[in-house]
Each structure stands twice: as structure tokens, then as C-alpha cells.
């Protein structure tokens, strides 16, 4: 057994058989790319703006295709590893719709469409009744309204699920056909309302592959938000520890005060929990395993509710200013915990299943998470 030094030396981490080489390379290039985005670009995104340079780099690196199969133009990296890109984007508060574009391309290619190069997002993010499809002439008419569509105003393609006679269809929409009302998320990033009443050709509409419906689409989005939250929370911990070691009061860094150390330990525990949730969500993404994603999103949301206040408390007044970068992360975290289903939404689903399992079935219900070939 090795001596206990922390953090674990890089060569030891590498020795543990956790990830493939391609995934490691992808992560490295994402870290380089997003790490180079300056605070000015982040501020622009928080005012609803767009960083074309950032998007172009993301697209050139091929990240939007990370969930697409190798045949469809992807890297052939397991989704549980590709989701790491989203965590890294969260860590850097990347001012691009990476999670949304990765999910949109996955849905497009699974339905038989080609993936898109331009920014893409998905709709609806809540509810199942947003869009309906009717046959009209030789094509289709889509009608409906979706709110809270992330980054919609900057997207070229909106990949939507629409209902036709009780069955879900995947629709590839050109954003310009939607009437768009600009709105902002809690973090200030675009979260627009779309009203659509338009004719579509048969080329734009495909039956959704069996496992995709509005509930699994919401779960897929939730899994990606958990990964982003894990990344952003890691950054929040790092910023807060660094600040506590630098800020001197009463003649010593505030991080030397036991009261502050104990608070930071609580913050670190929540970061670990959110990381665990992200690992669960990552493993559950490919199979769209709703209970696992529900547990992950509910726990990650709670982690934010405990951790963000500690980060702000330790940072004091400077962390409450627009000038300080802490809010790039905390405001996104507060927005993300609500998007694609809040703690309340996912806990209700999970609780209903646990109650249905009953007292004797409760423990088997818990151990089914992460079990091989789970039959749910």
C-alpha cells in the first residue's frame, strides 16, 4: 500500500484503470480550449451575447459530436467518458452550448439525421405537451411553444421532440422558423421562449427512436447538467480554498481559522457528493436510466444548495461583486439545479419508486443502482 499523500500523484491516478486514452486526450484538449477563454467572454455570455471564437474552436475540436457513434462521425468514446467534456465545460463556465449541442447531435443521429456543425440546442426542456405535429399536404405542420430553451437565439438548429398521435417524433428545426422571445436564465445566459407554427418537409421529421420521449430527453439533459454542476462545484471549491489561503485577517490567512476550515470541509464533502452523482449520471446516460439520473440530479442540486452559500460566506463581500469571478460558477449552479428537473421533480419520481418497492424491497431497490445488467 502506498503512503497516504494527497492529492494522489498523477502517475498513481494514471495507473488506476478508469479511462481510455482517447478520453484522456479529449479531456486534455477541452481543458486547454476552455481554460483559454477569458473573463470578458464569460461576461458577454452572461449578458446574452455570443462568443463565436469559442464556438468555432469547440466545433473544430469535434466536441459537439462526442456522443455520436463512430459511424456517425464521432470519436467512438463511451458516453460515460465523453460526458467528461461537459464536466470540464462546467469547470470553466464555458460560454457555449456544449451540453446542448452534444445532446442535440446524439438525438439527430440516433433518429437517422446527419449531425450538424453549427450551434444546436434541444426543446422542450420541461413537460411533454410543447409541440404537436399534424400531417399537412405532402409534409407536416408543427405547432407549439417551449420556454427556457437554452441558447436558442444563438442556435442554428433546434432539435425538438414533437407529438404526433401520441407518438414522439424528432424534428430538426431551423431556428429562424421560430418566433423567439429573448429571456435569460438565473445566470444571465440565454434561455429563450420559442413559439412555432410552421410547415416542415418530410426530411425534417423522423419517428423518435424507441427510448426517446420527453421524459428521457429531460433525463438526458439532467445527466448533462449534473456533469456541468460537478465541474463548476470543483471550481468553486478551488477558488474558495485559494482565497482562504490568500486572504489575511487578524494577522493570518482566514484558512488557518478552524471555523473556516470546518466550513470548507463541508463544502468539499458536497463537491465529492456531486462528483459521485456525476459518475452515476455519466454511467446512466447511454441507457437513459431514469432512476439513476433522478438520484444524481436530486443529490447534485442539494450539493449546490449547501456548497454555494459556504463559498460565498468564505469569500465575503468581494465574492458578492460583479467584478469577482465566483458568480460565473455559483449563478450557473443555481440555474442548473432547476433546469431539466429540480430536486423536487426527481425526488418525487425516485420516492414513488422506493415506496412502490416497499419496506422489504427498499434495500434491493438501492442496490439495483450500479448493478450489472440492471433490469429496471
Amino acid at each position: 500500500m502506498s503512503a497516504g499523500h494527497w492529492p494522489m500523484p498523477a502517475e498513481e491516478v494514471m495507473r488506476l484503470p478508469y479511462r481510455s486514452e482517447t478520453a484522456a486526450l479529449l479531456s486534455e484538449s477541452a481543458t486547454r480550449l476552455f481554460g483559454a477563454v477569458n473573463d470578458g467572454e464569460l461576461r458577454k455570455a452572461e449578458l446574452g451575447g455570443w462568443s463565436e471564437t469559442s464556438w468555432r474552436e469547440v466545433a473544430e475540436a469535434g466536441f459537439p459530436l462526442a456522443f455520436v457513434s463512430e459511424a456517425g462521425g464521432g470519436f467512438g468514446v463511451a458516453p460515460a467518458e465523453a460526458i467528461e467534456l461537459v464536466r470540464i465545460a462546467g469547470y470553466h463556465a464555458a460560454p457555449v452550448p456544449l451540453a446542448e449541442a452534444m445532446l442535440a447531435n446524439r438525438l439527430l443521429t440516433e433518429a437517422g439525421f446527419a449531425p450538424v456543425d453549427r450551434p444546436a440546442t434541444i426543446a422542450p426542456v420541461t413537460g411533454c405537451t410543447a409541440f404537436s405535429l399534424q400531417r399537412e399536404g405532402a409534409g407536416w405542420r408543427i405547432r407549439g411553444r417551449a420556454v427556457g430553451v437554452p441558447w436558442a437565439r444563438h442556435a442554428g438548429t433546434i432539435v425538438a421532440l414533437a407529438d404526433h398521435d401520441g407518438s414522439p417524433f424528432v424534428v430538426a428545426l431551423n431556428r429562424t422558423i421560430a418566433e423567439l422571445e429573448q429571456r435569460a436564465s438565473l445566470a444571465g445566459v440565454p434561455s429563450d421562449a420559442l413559439t412555432i407554427d410552421a410547415l416542415l418537409s418530410n426530411d425534417d421529421v423522423r419517428p423518435a427512436p424507441t427510448r426517446w420521449n420527453c421524459e428521457t430527453l429531460r433525463a438526458a439533459g439532467a445527466a448533462l447538467r449534473v456533469a456541468e454542476m460537478a465541474g463548476a462545484l470543483e471550481r468553486v471549491l478551488e477558488l474558495t480554498v485559494t482565497y482562504a489561503n490568500e486572504r489575511v485577517q487578524f494577522g493570518k490567512p482566514i484558512g488557518k481559522q478552524q471555523a473556516v476550515q470546518q466550513s470548507l470541509a463541508v463544502l468539499a464533502g458536497q463537491v465529492a457528493a456531486c462528483g459521485g452523482a456525476a459518475a452515476i449520471a455519466g454511467a446512466a446516460f447511454d441507457g437513459l436510466d431514469i432512476p439513476s439520473i433522478a438520484a444524481a440530479k436530486a443529490r447534485a442540486g442539494e450539493a449546490v444548495s449547501v456548497a454555494a452559500p459556504i463559498a460565498h460566506q468564505v469569500h465575503g463581500a468581494i465574492g458578492f461583486t460583479e467584478e469577482h469571478r465566483l458568480h460565473f460558477f455559483t449563478r450557473r449552479l443555481w440555474a442548473w439545479r432547476d433546469e431539466f428537473g429540480s430536486e423536487r421533480h426527481w425526488s418525487a419520481i425516485l420516492g414513488g419508486q422506493a415506496l412502490a418497492a416497499g419496506a422489504e424491497g427498499l434495500w434491493p431497490f438501492v442496490t439495483a443502482f450500479g448493478a450489472p445488467q440492471e433490469a429496471r
Partner: protein, 382 residues
């Protein structure tokens, strides 16, 4: 910057097969044991039960076969542990020996100690207790005052150990003591001895806990002669050894499942007609258990890979104790307990047990404050 590493423990089909065997065994063993008794979980002592566990090969699972072990993986052992805890099997008799005394002897013990003690532990016949805390040395373990003076052929031991869980039922204590120097030397001059508790000069007095239950003890050593062959590892290396023992102590699923039997009883009462509020509260707890289990299995996997997950174990134990301690209040917020009602009587009795046991969840195995200090050190703050 990565402060800690929680790997994804891989799912193991053979572990799931084992799970089925353990469940069948427990269903039979615990058929008529009510929830409020099972709630004691790893505080429940039953020597016969431990012997039956040993017969099935579920103690010392990861140890080499030459010492009575079974050479199975940490994750298989993990399955046995969590299945025991989830239903509240009375595992206290062998728990400490299986968890930390055995691994400590495997790592640091003499060949004679290993051959004499490990096979009996694995058979569920020999029980150990921890000899760390003292009247003036709790969280501050380096303040240890119990002395083992080197004498001809061994040591003469004087001092007092406290809060010794099931010391009155154990055969051996793994005694942490000072063999040279004084308290000012702190970590230096400490050692560990494998002490046969039947030696003359040892007095064991039970101490009742706040509920009146007697599981922990005061153990007094008065001029006890301990042979030199009882020394574990090197004289003076006690601090290094005892801290590695603590990593074993903190890493398991017993650090978040202490109230699980109560949670199951809550489900039994709620399931007929749960409110939205209750359903959400239950789902929230499930999310905690699922994530704690993910992290805790990661710790087991680190152990499997020969790593020292002291920091990760502290994180899991700190998070786990919060959930364990919160569950009684979740129960109280969701159910109107009527001691006269058939429907809530067993829930009430289980709740009463857990309410009184809960303070210990963030004391035993390292207090919350000590754990958070370890985490703060891992963050580079100390």
C-alpha cells in the same frame, strides 16, 4: 486541481451472485427479529451468528488462505458488509476484528501472531476490541498515557482504556500505548500490542450508555505482564500503524447505513397512502444513499488497488453520519407516531432506539470535527 479521487468501482457479476446467497442466509437468520432489535446493527452482539458467518467464509474474506482467509475481492467483501448492515444483522462480535484488527495483523503482525489469531478470527471464534481512547486521550490520540515498560521477556503495562466497545466480550485488544518517552514526544515512542484480555491485572468495567445499554467499557491495566511476542510491528512505529488502522475503520458502509432499518420501517408505514411531501422526502434520502454507496464503493475499490483512501474515507464518513442522524427527524416530520396504534408501534420503538443511538454516529471512529480537520488538511489548509 483534484483534491480527492473516488473511482468508479466496476460492477462485479460474481459479487451479485454472492449477494443472493447472503440475502437468503439473512432472511433465514433474521426471520423473527423485529426492527427495533435489528436497528442495533453493528452494535448487536451474537457470537453464534458470527460463527455461522465464519462457516460461510464471510469473515476475513480478502485475507490469504494460509491465514484462514478466502482471497476474495474488496468489492465482494463490501457486498457482504452492506447486506448485513442494511437489514441490521448482529455483526458486532466479529466486526472489529474483520474490519481492522485482522488487516492490521496481516500488514504489521509477526508470523506467529498471524498464524495464532487470524484463522480463528476468520472462523468467527475470536473477537477483538480497539485499544485507542483513554480518559485523557480521545480525539487527540497522541496524548496516549497507557505505558508498556520494556521488562525482561516483555512489557509491564499500566493505564486505562475507555469506550472499549465489547471489551467485555472480546478475546484480544489491539492496545495502542507508549513504550518510551513521554506525552511531549507525541507520535514518537508509541507502539501496539496484541493483548490477551485474560491476563492477570486487567479489569473490565462496563459503562452504560445514555439509554442504559452496556456495550462499551473501561479497561484498566495494573502491572500487567505482556510477553514480548505480543508486540505488533516495530516498537516505536505505533503512530504509523494506528493511523493505517483508522483508515480501515472509517472506510466501510457502516458509516452511512446505521439508520437504514428505521428508513425501511418508515417506508412500511408510509407506503399505503404517501403524501407528495413524504414521497419527495423519501426520494431525497434515496438520492443520498445512492450517492454515498457510489462513493463508498469507490473507497473499497481504492483499497482493492492498494491505495490509502484515508481522505476519501473521512469524506464518506462525514457525509454518511449526517444522513444517519437526519433520518429520525425525517421520520418524525412525516409520521404522527401513536404508540397505541398497531401501525406505528414498531416504527416508534425503532425510532426511539435510533434517536438515542444517533449522537454516537458522529463520535465513534473519529468525531465529525476530527474528520473535517483531515479533510481540511487534504485541501491544503493545514
Amino acid at each position: 486541481m483534484t483534491y480527492f479521487t473516488f473511482p468508479n468501482a466496476p460492477p462485479l457479476p460474481e459479487a451479485e451472485k454472492l449477494r443472493g446467497e447472503v440475502r437468503a442466509f439473512l432472511a433465514e437468520e433474521l426471520r423473527n427479529v423485529p426492527a427495533h432489535v435489528r436497528a442495533a446493527s453493528w452494535s448487536g452482539f451474537d457470537a453464534q451468528f458470527s460463527r455461522r458467518m465464519g462457516e460461510r467464509g464471510w469473515i476475513g474474506m480478502t485475507w490469504p488462505k494460509q491465514y484462514g482467509g478466502h482471497e476474495r475481492s474488496s468489492l465482494e467483501r463490501y457486498v457482504v458488509l452492506e447486506e448485513m448492515l442494511a437489514v441490521g444483522a448482529p455483526v458486532a462480535a466479529h466486526w472489529i476484528a474483520d474490519r481492522q484488527s485482522g488487516p492490521l495483523l496481516l500488514r504489521f503482525g509477526t508470523e506467529e501472531q498471524r498464524q495464532n489469531v487470524l484463522p480463528k478470527i476468520a472462523a468467527g471464534e475470536l473477537f477483538c476490541c480497539i485499544g485507542m481512547s483513554e480518559p485523557d486521550s480521545g480525539s487527540d490520540l497522541a496524548a496516549v498515557r497507557t505505558r508498556a515498560e520494556p521488562v525482561d521477556g516483555g512489557f509491564r503495562v499500566n493505564g486505562t482504556k475507555l469506550w472499549t466497545t465489547y471489551g467485555h466480550r472480546a478475546h484480544y485488544m489491539l492496545l495502542f500505548c507508549r513504550t518510551s518517552g513521554g506525552p511531549a514526544d507525541r507520535h514518537k515512542g508509541t507502539s501496539q500490542l496484541l493483548v490477551d484480555l485474560t491476563l492477570p491485572g486487567i479489569t473490565i468495567r462496563p459503562i452504560a450508555d445514555l439509554s442504559g445499554a452496556k456495550h462499551f467499557n473501561e479497561v484498566v491495566f495494573e502491572n500487567v505482564f505482556v510477553p514480548g511476542s505480543a508486540l505488533i510491528g516495530e516498537e516505536g512505529n505505533g503512530w504509523h500503524q494506528v493511523t493505517s488502522e483508522l483508515a480501515y475503520e472509517r472506510s466501510g458502509p457502516e458509516r452511512f447505513l446505521s439508520s437504514f432499518v428505521l428508513f425501511a420501517e418508515l417506508i412500511r408505514v408510509l407506503q399505503r397512502n404517501p403524501s407528495d411531501h413524504a414521497t419527495i422526502a423519501v426520494g431525497r434520502l434515496i438520492s443520498h444513499f445512492v450517492v454515498l454507496r457510489q462513493l463508498s464503493r469507490g473507497v473499497a475499490w481504492l483499497l482493492q488497488n492498494g491505495e490509502n483512501p484515508a481522505l476519501e474515507a473521512a469524506v464518506v464518513k462525514d457525509l454518511g453520519a449526517l444522513v444517519e442522524q437526519e433520518i429520525p427527524d425525517v421520520v418524525r416530520s412525516l409520521v404522527e407516531i401513536d404508540p397505541d396504534s398497531e401501525q406505528t408501534r414498531e416504527l416508534a420503538r425503532t425510532l426511539h432506539y435510533i434517536v438515542q443511538a444517533a449522537p454516537s454516529f458522529s463520535l465513534r471512529g473519529g468525531t465529525r470535527e476530527i474528520l473535517r480537520g483531515i479533510i481540511a488538511r487534504g485541501l491544503g489548509l493545514r
